[in-house]
């Protein structure tokens, strides 16, 4: 096995990694780059806690090899906040109590952001589909759906 050199742009920062090609993207983000906001909750790509955004698409970082993300732009939960200012989705999650234990929240925020980037005002069904890859055992999802709806309706417009 020979290692490979890859470049990842995570939350606007460029990282150069020299890694074993079997390294998963989630391992690169958590264990090598050290951003532990992205979580892991299963071994079968089912729970969605590892969801990040790669080139604008929500993706399960446990089901992607890090080498496949070479040269791509990756956004993790740590990238949502811009020097102290929370992203509208983060503010909405606070207002609507869209989290409890918080372990699935990073992945949920990423799915929500990717959904709204692609479809600025989704129907309730589309929102449900947008986050049906993320399991949450605490909230029962409705508070999350309400928060996403509020952001889509412009309740958290900047400025």
């Amino acid at each position: 096995m020979e290692k490979r050199l890859i470049h990842l742009n995570v939350n606007g920062e460029d990282y150069e990694l020299y890694i074993n090609p079997k390294t998963l993207l989630v391992e690169a983000i958590r264990d090598i780059i050290g951003l532990t906001g992205t979580k892991r909750g299963c071994e079968s790509g089912s729970c969605g806690a590892c969801t990040v955004i790669v080139d604008g698409m929500s993706v399960k970082s446990c089901s992607v090899l890090a080498v496949q993300a070479d040269g791509k732009k990756i956004l993790t939960v740590e990238g949502l906040e811009q020097n102290g200012k929370l992203h509208p989705l983060q503010r909405a999650f606070l207002d609507y109590g869209s989290f409890q234990c918080g372990f699935c929240t990073p992945g949920m925020l990423m799915s929500a952001k990717a959904l709204l980037d692609e479809n600025p005002n989704p129907t309730k069904e589309e929102i449900k589909e947008g986050i049906d890859g993320n399991i949450c055992r605490c909230t029962g999802y409705n508070s999350i759906i309400r928060a996403i709806e509020a952001v889509a309706k412009g309740q958290y417009k900047e400025g």
């Binding site: 806690a49 740590e78 983060q90 918080g102 909230t139």
Partner: protein, 755 residues
């Protein structure tokens, strides 16, 4: 309604910023310098004697630093029911015998996770496989394999509840019906699997980061099984990724990481894989229910006789409490002239069953509410009427079991009846089912044998008027940090943002029994209220000197102002008073202490919550598949404290309880769980979630802080029962097995047609 400043208002979760920005560091995220990784070799057999363990090859693998088996431990059989030593039966690392598939046998610590895993394959364990038994009816027969020596017929523990004379009372009944039910288990599926990082240092002190609901329990249990002093063990659990009842007993991640760290003097991290979390941790108790109910023609309940066999699995854990509670809640929330319950917990060679949200009540409520619906139909009585006629009322005493103080059941029934009537005539493939329920706010009985008070809190006011609140209560996502901050702010008269809550650290926070039994809002809340009152009293002394009112108790602090109650226009700024107070106390911070232990209050629990839930489903008659459209709950939790928290608890409970009712099945073959992953174990996702609505019925619970009581586990009790009743109205089927999967509904429909 009292006009509170902070209580029941829209308050953000105080851990929110850390959780929505990814800053929150869970045990899963913790790495310490020089840290090793631990992996566990588990038993492939449901029942076997350990003959020999050969670790020689594994030891030689480069990177392996330590290997431990049961023989390397003190061999103490631990358990959470410390008051009854014979119920402490779990050595965690098996010593002479394994009793369920997945039981830990050998643990390895290595420099990298991969090496530890590779080492497991090099370990050879010789077993003498013994005959195994998996279901209570077989395990209880004469000649069944003995799982625990000294426990004949595998009966682990029995519980009995009785009042009145059932045999006499049954004579008065005009209609008697008896039914058998079989209720399957359910798994917690916490998003953060069980994990721990333990670091033992040469000074003989042990630091343990872990994901737990009760840091104090883990501290005490670890000290016991490792032979350490309690205070030399420090458990830190700042953020926990979900618990639901599965994380307050000592688990293998904590025990194994500690043992390995004590051998290597290096930090050791053990993280359960999702599969390990499924097969080797405890689950909701599966039960076989027999219940016989006698009722008068006019619907008055007369007597009920119930017998339950629970599948205890390989070890006791909290099983004894589940056995008792299911008996207690099978009478809830109705008045019975005579009631008798006999519960038998039976050891089997499956994963131990123990506590999970609802703790026996969802099973009890399912069997009770369905039978009542069928009786109402048989006697031609309106389901609301029969429940209203027999329901608990404030001040009622469940003979020998419970004093009920506040009880909003009647109001909840009225609200739900109004909603059901507002739905009017339903389309043919739709139906509505209802269910009453009730739950306790924590337990009185000190089965853990703690010398400390059940809950304690310390309030510390700093020079700038900001408050540090130290509580032993543990926030596992249910929002106890926020709820307790709200209680402290209201009592002390400040805002929530003035308070920083410290929890999840046994060295810093006062002892508390932790998060289970929905006890924290009431018990820890009372402790926090007392501590805040203590601190406020010290401030009022100083305040009185400044304002010189004629009567000192005329003063209070409200929304950062020290006011004279009789003349509110005269007030002094709270922050000024604090500065004076500190100077007056030679620069000492103001400390308020509070604690709460419920002696003889309400017998088994200080207070009881009530509620009624209605569920609307849409059915596909050809396939038996049901879709939940709507779920409305009227819940009486006394005075709600944390507005967002209560709604969150309800919606989360509906998702978990609906899963228990019609989705989450756990198929076993010869003691092996066949779906230990999130592809085959069906958990509710956003697409299956119904519309939810909660109607808060506000009552005043004298025993609770500001009149508050539980809104955590109680909400998981009704949903499966309401689903069962909805299916009864939709198909005319009397479902006797849970979960009610489409195939089971289809088979029941076919049998009905053939009859």
């Amino acid at each position: 309604m009292k006009n509170y400043v902070v209580i029941n208002t829209h308050i953000h979760n105080i851990d929110g910023i850390a959780k929505v920005t990814g800053r929150a560091q869970y045990t899963f995220d913790i790495t310490l310098p020089n840290m090793l990784y631990g992996k566990i070799l588990r038993s492939p057999h449901p029942h076997a004697r350990i003959i020999d363990i050969d670790v020689s090859k594994a030891e030689r693998l480069p990177g392996v630093k330590a290997i431990v088996t049961g023989k390397d431990t003190l061999g103490i059989k631990q358990g959470i029911w410390r008051r009854y030593k014979e119920l402490c039966d779990e050595p965690i690392l098996a010593i002479e015998k394994v009793r369920y598939i997945g039981e830990p046998v050998v643990a390895v610590a290595a420099t990298r996770e991969e090496i530890a895993e590779e080492a497991l394959d090099l370990i050879e364990v010789k077993y003498e496989v013994l005959p195994a038994v998996f279901e209570p009816p077989e395990a209880i027969k004469k000649g069944a394999p003995v799982i625990h020596e000294g426990f004949e017929r595998n009966i682990n523990v029995t519980r009995h509840i009785e009042w009145g004379d059932v045999d006499e009372a049954m004579k008065e009944a005009d209609y008697i019906r008896e039914d058998w039910f079989r209720i399957d288990g359910q798994h917690h599926v916490c998003m953060e699997t069980r994990c721990a990082v333990s670091s033992y240092t040469p000074d003989g002190k042990l630091l343990v980061y872990t994901s737990t609901q009760a840091p104090y329990y883990i501290q005490v249990l670890l000290a016991w099984v490792l032979g350490l002093k309690e205070s030399d063990v420090r458990v830190i659990s700042k953020y926990t990724g979900g618990g639901f009842g599965g994380k307050f007993e000592l688990d293998a991640a904590q025990f194994v990481s500690a043992i390995l760290s004590m051998k290597t003097y290096r930090p050791v991290k053990v993280v359960f894989s999702r599969e390990e979390d499924f097969i080797a941790s405890k689950r909701r108790t599966p039960m076989y229910y027999y219940t016989r109910t006698g009722v008068k023609k006019d619907g008055t309940f007369v007597a009920r006789e119930t017998r339950v066999l629970t599948n205890g699995g390989a070890y006791t854990g909290m099983g004894a409490t589940a056995l008792y509670l299911t008996g207690f809640f099978h009478s809830f929330p109705y008045k019975w002239k005579a009631y008798r319950y006999d519960g038998f917990r039976v050891y089997t060679n499956t994963m131990p069953s123990s506590a999970m949200r609802g703790f026996g009540a969802p099973q009890a409520t399912f069997c009770s509410e369905l039978q009542i619906e069928w009786i109402a139909k048989e006697l031609g009585i309106d389901p609301f009427e029969i429940r209203r006629k027999n329901g608990h009322t404030p001040g009622y005493e469940v003979p020998g079991q419970a004093y009920i103080q506040s009880c909003g059941l009647r109001e909840c029934l009225d609200e739900i009846e109004k909603w059901v009537k507002s739905k009017g005539e339903l389309p043919p493939n739709r139906a509505i089912g209802i269910s009453c329920y009730g739950f306790m706010s924590g337990g009185i009985f000190n089965w853990f044998d703690t010398p400390y008070s059940f809950s304690s809190a310390v309030v510390q006011i700093n020079y700038d008027g900001k408050v540090d609140l130290f509580v032993g209560a543990q926030d596992i996502g249910q929002g106890s940090n926020t709820t307790l901050a709200i209680i402290c702010a209201e009592e002390l008269g400040v805002r929530v943002e003035d308070i920083r809550v410290h929890s999840g650290d046994t060295a810093v926070c006062p002892p508390d029994l932790g998060a289970w039994g929905s006890r924290q809002t009431l018990m820890a809340g009372n402790a926090v209220k007392m501590a805040a009152a203590d601190a406020k009293r010290q401030l009022l002394e100083i305040g009185a000197a400044k304002m010189r009112p004629n009567i000192v108790y005329d003063l209070d602090i409200r929304d950062r102002k020290l006011i004279n109650l009789s003349r509110p226009e005269r007030w002094v700024d709270y922050f000024e008073v604090v500065k004076d107070a500190l100077r007056g106390k030679e620069g000492q911070k103001i400390i308020g202490r509070g604690f709460y232990t419920p002696h003889r209050k309400g017998m088994i629990s200080p207070a009881y919550s009530y509620g009624v839930q209605a569920v609307e489903i849409e059915v596909d008659r050809e396939t038996g598949k049901i879709k939940i459209l709507n779920c409305v709950t009227a819940h009486d939790c006394g005075q709600p404290i944390n507005k967002l928290g209560v709604l969150g608890q309800l919606e989360g409970a509906v998702a978990m309880a609906a899963g228990f009712g019609y989705l989450e099945y756990m198929p076993f073959e010869e003691g092996k769980l066949m779906n230990p992953n999130l592809v085959d174990y069906k958990v509710m996702r956003s697409t299956e979630m119904p519309e939810t609505e909660v109607i808060e019925i506000e009552t005043y619970e004298p025993e609770g802080p500001f009149g508050a009581k539980e809104a955590g586990e109680g909400l998981t009790n009704p949903t499966a029962a309401a689903l069962g009743n909805a299916i009864f109205h939709a198909f005319g089927l009397q479902m006797k097995e849970v979960p009610m999967t489409p195939e089971r509904i289809w088979r029941a429909l076919r049998e009905k047609k053939e009859k």
